[in-house]
């Protein structure tokens, strides 16, 4: 006789309801293991997303007991102190079915923010080296490991309040680009970051950096964008 845990799972799209499953507890069990267990043993129609199961692909994010998390690296023992699990789809994105959301707005805004690299050189030129110890390289490094999981996007209240807000992940990406010395269009990129719904909409609440599973700080990146914008405008470089 194993112990079980009641798991309340959101079923349906916008209109839907919670359904409770009792799931067997195991050692070192992750929240994703729980969802998989439900689908395999109790209800094969349960929809959810995952791929890598090791915190690389960024596809498994859900709302776990009210907090956006990557479920493949979240241990049940850590988050279910009160003996219940409540699983919902990520906030701030259209609900498709059960635990799966439509990520389209998230990726569309990524494009709209303008985080696209454009080089100066052709394949015939010598490689343009980036000094690993340079300040810009370090700033880009601190922000570059984003796995596109949209956890920050779900945690941010401004995204909730203002549908035009590009959100922490897209702006974090732009900050890495602004710090890439090989990027040919730094000024344009910076200008785009300051569009309506851009970096000016962030009020440094810091929810994104507190929730990012890989420990990035979009708050810091967006602050960097505002700083770069201010100095570039005052310096006549924009």
């Amino acid at each position: 006789m194993t112990d079980t845990i009641p798991v309340r799972v959101w079923r349906g799209g916008d209109a839907g309801a919670f359904q409770t499953f009792d799931v067997a507890l195991r050692d070192n069990q992750t929240v994703l293991d729980i969802v998989t267990d439900i689908q395999r043993r109790q209800d094969p129609t349960l929809s959810y997303r995952f791929a890598c199961r090791v915190g690389v692909c960024g596809s498994c994010a859900m709302t776990v007991n009210g907090v956006p998390r990557w479920t493949c690296r979240t241990h049940v023992a850590k988050v279910a102190a009160e003996g219940v699990l409540t699983l919902e789809p990520l906030r701030n994105l259209p609900r498709l079915k059960d635990l799966a959301v439509d990520m389209t707005p998230f990726f569309d805004k990524w494009q709209k923010a303008g985080g696209t690299f454009e080089g100066r050189k052709t394949r015939d030129d010598a490689v343009d080296p980036v000094k690993p110890g340079s300040r810009a390289r370090k700033a880009a490094d601190a922000a570059i490991e984003c796995i596109n999981c949209a956890v920050c996007y779900a945690a941010c209240d401004v995204v909730d309040w203002d549908p035009d807000y590009l959100g922490p992940a897209a702006l974090n990406r732009v900050w890495t680009l602004v710090n890439d010395r090989r990027h040919a269009r730094r000024s344009d990129t910076l200008d785009k970051a300051a569009q309506s719904g851009g970096c000016g909409s962030c009020h440094s609440q810091g929810a994104c950096m507190r929730h990012c599973p890989v420990g990035l700080s979009p708050t810091e990146s967006i602050a960097g964008l505002k700083r770069a914008l201010l100095f570039s405008l005052l310096g006549g470089r924009l």
Partner: protein, 116 residues
Amino acid sequence: MIARHRRDRAYLAFLGHRISGIGLAVFLPLHFIVLAEVLSGEAALDSVLAFTAHPVVKAMEWLLLVLVCAHLIFGLRLLMLELRPWRGRGADRRGWILPGLILALAVGTLAMLGVV
């Protein structure tokens, strides 16, 4: 219940900064209109200022002083966050928030009491 992602000092600072900003923006036109009472003579301004003897108006004055100090401190915190590169732990200046709030309350209270 307060949603989990809002239970943080930085969120409190955001709310404090926003609410104080709104309060000041509402107060400002009234402040200007009262001051312009001087155009109809010193006595006219004095007759408006006489209302400040009322306890409710006194409480409002105290509140405004606290609001302006809080907005100043939280605003300076944001400027620090935004205009200086972040270095190491504490760069998010969370540590400023509670002392800042206490300082705002203290300055407002001391000024009201006519201590300084």
